[in-house]
């Protein structure tokens, strides 16, 4: 298609002019991105709700706040990121001095996914802009409201000669992939990832592929049941109803411990989503009919259907499947072979915890692996022997936001809150000086007040 070639040519002209290389341009675009998010929070939440019925809390917690944090970090650190890094020289090259200087690659193509359509579009765009590139963003057509919103907001806030949104599906994406890029950043499935990389190979374009995988949760009997269950449920169903690359895919635990864990999960599920979760406003829906059919197929598989021990309710009109637990699905069933990407949670039981490591090792490397344990030795074993994109001990999904928060917020917290806010309590001093961790301590005390008011707040 002539359009794609024309867009790339225009962007490359902008890049050649040198405009995107300056610190000033990059900072201006990053600040405009912040403005875009600040001024359109409601519209973003609305689009996400339209696309996938994403609860406003998730939209804020998992998409909007992360993009804001990304912008803040980039704005704060850009000068040091752009600065040359001096390196030491050796006798062989005496006399000399050497440094490493980061350069923009040029024209970047960013292809994003449908499950966190705002986050997965804007986050790489922020990186590409900070590095001084020109960008084409191809949002996922499976999340059309967000795609449309991005296509209308980005030209309003950002430099239209350097950052473009191209909407569309297979035909448009294919046309874009035929062009020569200096970098392609793809988030999505392995199947399409192969197509993207093969297209990139024709031009020897470097690619970054953010794919998925079956993220295991290994749970040993030493854990606190309530907290563990809460965190697994929040990570699984609180992440777009399981439709997230880092959502827990399946659990592995000791056969003798499984009944207790399952009970704890059931209790937590009911507490969070009520007796009829299909109607809960706190769960995302399945994104479209195709995925709904795919997921019901996993459940209706004869090898699996009689092992469903909780949930399984579905509503095709609402594109909704309730949180569902499956006990000991066979390893050769589809639900244990494919990435689930939905609200179904298989629980695999083993006789010894070491077997868990064998099972995880026999499957492809996942994007994330989770382990819940108080046994330090076992923890070390898991961390050393499981190869995964990232790992989290004693929680799920949070590691992606922790990385950002630990960097900025403690510093911001210290700057923002002075001693003139009228609080005598030494509790507040604890809040202010320490980091995230300590803040939770004080709130734990009043946990009862906050947690046990499901639909309305009795405090207000």
């Amino acid at each position: 298609m002539a359009d794609a070639a024309r867009v790339v040519r225009k962007l490359r002209d902008t890049f050649s002019s040198g405009r995107t290389r300056s610190y000033e341009w990059r900072i201006a675009q990053l600040k405009q991105t912040m403005k875009l998010v600040d001024e359109n929070e409601n519209e973003i939440i609305e689009a996400l709700s339209q696309d996938i019925c994403k609860p406003p809390f998730e939209s804020f917690f998992a998409e909007i706040s992360l993009i804001k944090a990304s912008c803040k970090v980039a704005i704060k650190e850009l000068k040091s990121w752009m600065a040359p890094e001096k390196v030491s020289t050796t006798l062989t090259v005496f006399p000399s001095k050497a440094e490493i200087v980061p350069e923009p690659l040029g024209a970047a193509l960013i292809i994003s996914a449908w499950n966190y359509p705002f986050l997965l579009s804007m986050d790489p765009v922020i990186g590409a802009i900070a590095a001084g590139n020109v960008v084409v963003l191809k949002p996922s057509e499976v999340a059309p409201a967000t795609s449309s919103l991005l296509a209308s907001l980005i030209p309003q806030y950002l430099d239209d000669d350097a950052i473009r949104v191209v909407e569309g599906s297979v035909a448009e994406t294919t046309s874009l992939l035929e062009q020569k890029w200096d970098k392609i950043f793809y988030t999505g499935s392995a199947k399409i990832g192969r197509i993207v990389m093969a297209a990139a190979a024709k031009h020897l374009t470097p690619v970054t592929l953010e794919l998925g995988g079956k993220c295991p949760v290994i749970v040993d009997p030493t854990v606190d049941l309530e907290v563990t269950a809460r965190r697994i449920v929040a990570g699984k169903w609180g992440s777009n109803n399981g439709q997230a690359c880092i959502a827990p895919d399946y659990i592995i635990t000791l056969e003798s411990f499984a009944p207790k864990l399952i009970d704890a999960l059931k209790n937590t599920l009911e507490k969070f989503y009520g007796k009829d979760p299909v109607q809960s406003a706190d769960l995302s829906h399945i994104v479209n009919l195709s995925h709904f059919v795919r997921l019901t197929r996993l459940l209706d598989d004869p090898k699996v259907s009689d092992r469903v021990i909780y949930g399984g309710q579905r509503d095709e009109k609402q594109l909704m499947i309730a949180p569902t637990l499956v006990l000991d699905a066979p390893m050769d069933s589809l639900i244990m072979i494919e990435e689930i990407f939905g609200p179904l949670l298989p629980i695999i039981t083993v006789q010894k915890m070491e077997e868990a490591l064998e099972i995880v090792g026999s499957l492809s490397k996942p994007l994330a692996a989770y382990v819940f344990t108080k046994n330090k030795k076992f923890e070390r074993q898991v961390v050393a022997s499981v190869s995964a994109g990232g790992m989290l001990v004693n929680d799920t999904a949070l590691h992606v936001r922790f990385k950002l928060q630990i960097i900025i917020y403690p510093l911001e917290g210290l700057e923002k809150v002075g001693w003139d806010h009228t609080m005598e309590s030494s509790h507040l001093k604890l809040l202010v000086i320490k980091r995230l961790y300590s803040i939770e301590v004080s709130w734990e005390i009043s946990r009862q007040d906050i947690l046990h008011t499901p639909q309305e707040s009795k405090i207000l």
Binding site: R21, L105, D395, H399, G413, I450
Partner: protein, 356 residues
């Protein structure tokens, strides 16, 4: 290989069949010295390489031409295997007018060393062609001629200090340039060759046509075109209108020119006032950009190229921040917002029930 081993991987090495003696030596020595169960050498040509590429690897590191690079990356795409491509390119050498005689001698020596003492120009890092101001060209060429004779004698074919062309295929490719009349007429020094010895004399050409093959393909041989420009600053546009090279060399004392070249051109690396030697510094990443490849090696960069940096977050089970759990409501959302914005004041007000 050193990088791959340092990073703890199992390795298959497929040496180039075009250098068969070295391939054979590696195949003999490696099993003798290294752990044969996890480090192997597979010799062979296209058939063997194709077979190797059909398997699933966790990383492929390729050094060679862009043409073969594309085949390898396409094969890697089937398994989504990450690759590093160390390719080549035409490494331009910008030479500013050097008026100081001593500096001119050193400049000529370093260019000559970079071109003809690196496998007789058959190196990805060899200066491919020179960019010079037209007024300075003759002085530089004279200095290069003297240097070549000092390095290799009157008849370099008898010098033991210069490599030969690796095989007949490559020899014929280079000979073709010299037989092209539009190129041949630009030869100002050298140009002799002997097919029986796979020998081509260090050759300097002055302004061959920019559309000729010698100015579009990577030369990878002992032929050195000198392109003259009205002003040396034009070299920046000249370089930018061509594919990104593996390296750019600049000989100059002019601080402005150095800064401009550094910030306005893009290449795998840039060396000022020398050639090749940046390869020896392992604190600098070695790698290409654009058509010259992607990925980095040398020193810790090799270790990193063959490693996955796994992020690990350790959390305690207590305390547990319960506000992140459903069922959600306006209060929880407001609280989390204030919390994430470190809006402590509003946080307290919400907690105390003084704010909605």
């Amino acid at each position: 290989m050193i990088g791959a081993i340092a990073a703890g991987n199992a390795v298959v090495l497929k040496p180039s069949e075009i250098a068969p003696a070295t391939s054979k030596l590696l195949a003999t020595l490696i099993p003798r010295y290294l752990d044969n169960s996890v480090i192997k050498v597979v010799e062979g040509g296209i058939a063997e390489s194709t077979q190797l590429l059909e398997h699933k690897w966790d990383k492929i590191f390729f050094t060679g031409s862009a043409r073969v690079g594309k085949i390898i990356m396409s094969a890697a795409a089937k398994h989504l295997t990450p690759v590093t491509m160390e390719l080549g390119g035409k490494c331009p050498t910008i030479v500013d007018s050097i008026l100081n005689k001593k500096e001119l001698v050193v400049t000529a020596k370093r260019i000559a060393f970079g071109k003809w003492s690196t496998n007789n120009g058959q190196a990805c890092l060899s200066p491919d062609y020179l960019l010079v101001g037209e007024k300075f060209a003759e002085t530089l060429i004279e200095a290069l001629k003297r240097t070549i004779e000092r390095f290799f004698g009157e008849d370099p074919s008898t010098s033991g200090d210069i490599s030969r062309i690796v095989n007949q295929n490559q020899f014929l490719r280079l000979k073709k340039y010299l037989e092209d009349p539009s190129i041949a007429q630009s030869v100002v020094y050298g140009g002799k060759y002997d097919e029986s010895k796979l020998y081509i004399q260090p050759t300097i050409l002055l302004d061959p046509p920019l559309t000729s093959e010698i100015m579009n393909d990577e030369i990878f041989g002992p032929l050195l075109p000198v392109i003259t420009l009205k002003r040396i600053e034009e070299s920046i546009d000249f370089i930018n209108s061509r594919p990104k090279p593996l390296c750019i060399y600049l000989f100059s004392n002019n601080k402005d020119l150095k800064e401009r070249v550094a910030s306005e051109t893009s290449s795998g690396s840039l060396a000022v006032n020398d050639t090749i030697i940046q390869f020896a510094l392992d604190t600098l990443p070695f790698g290409g950009v654009g058509e010259s490849g992607f990925g980095m090696s040398h020193g810790k960069f090799s270790f990193d190229t063959f490693s996955h940096p796994k992020g690990i977050l350790y959390r305690g089970l207590f305390p547990d921040f319960t506000l992140r759990y459903p069922p959600w409501n306006e209060f929880k959302l407001g609280f989390v917002k204030a919390f994430l914005q470190f809006d402590y004041f509003n946080l307290i007000l919400l907690w105390l029930g003084l704010k909605k």
